[in-house]
């Protein structure tokens, strides 16, 4: 790696360092992972989070939670047909530890002579802050799919309406 950097020009070094920093910041901007299981145990569902495909199979679905959203909508689909969905909210009492940096940033007066310098150092740390919203999403969610009872399960669709 170092040899690679030695071979690069000065401009290229900064370019690669910026890319690495960007990747790290993006990775840290995601919240903790959440598992989704389907009540009927089938593996052929696709899972969507706020309309975005996050798992193509439902037997081992795990994805990162959004940092800024208070809730997210999880949807279960198979062959482009929606089988169920649930809105998942952050759990109360699981507040993430508050960041001293944020507090410090607020106390920094805009007219401070070192505003630019502090901004340069605090901005990346600010982006690393996982969430400003209290509470975390549950680690696991089980989505109920399928008929609620035997009446629904055995509905005679092939017979005329009574």
């Amino acid at each position: 790696m170092m040899k690679f950097f030695d071979n690069c020009g000065s401009g290229m070094k900064w370019y690669f360092l910026l890319i690495i920093l960007f990747v790290l910041l993006n990775a840290c901007a995601s919240g903790p992972a959440m598992k989704v299981r389907i009540s009927d145990g089938r593996s052929d569902y696709s899972i969507y989070r706020d309309g975005e495909l996050v798992c193509t199979r439902s037997d081992s679905c795990e994805f990162s939670t959004p940092v800024e959203n208070e809730s997210m909508y999880i949807q279960v689909c198979r062959n482009n047909v929606i089988y169920g969905g649930v809105r998942v909210y952050r759990e109360s009492g699981t507040s993430l530890p508050s960041r001293g940096v944020e507090k410090w940033m607020r106390s920094t007066h805009p007219s401070d002579a070192f505003e630019l310098v502090t901004g340069m150092f605090t901005l990346p740390v600010f982006f690393l802050t996982p969430s400003k919203i209290a509470g975390q999403f549950p680690a696991e969610v089980v989505l109920t799919v399928g008929p609620k009872d035997s009446v629904q399960a055995n509905f005679p669709w092939e017979k005329p309406i009574q």
């Binding site: 929606i82 799919v145 005329p160």
Partner: protein
Amino acid sequence: MIRYIAIVLLLASALWAKTEYFILPVQLKGVHEDYAKKIISLVKEYASIDGYAIVPNKKDSDYLLQIKLFRDDTGVAVIFEKRKKNDKLVWSYGHIAYVPNDFIPIVSYVSSRIK
């Protein structure tokens, strides 16, 4: 002057015109045709609420509406397809129904999207 009024009226009528749909024969698999009639009557009901029209002739329509009711191992997959008259798919939506009453929220949602 009359020409301008005619143009304004023509534009206004275009704005007020309702979108017109022709419902294609419902495709059924493992579902009795009574449920096709039921879902069509629901679509017509919601069309009057949401302000679009269901027309009896294909040539008078702006779009085609294809409804599919396919039996699944747990219920019935209700699929709506909004198509252009050249059969090109514009929008589609599918949702599972376990009992016929599940048609209501599905049709309500589709109706609000296609109005």
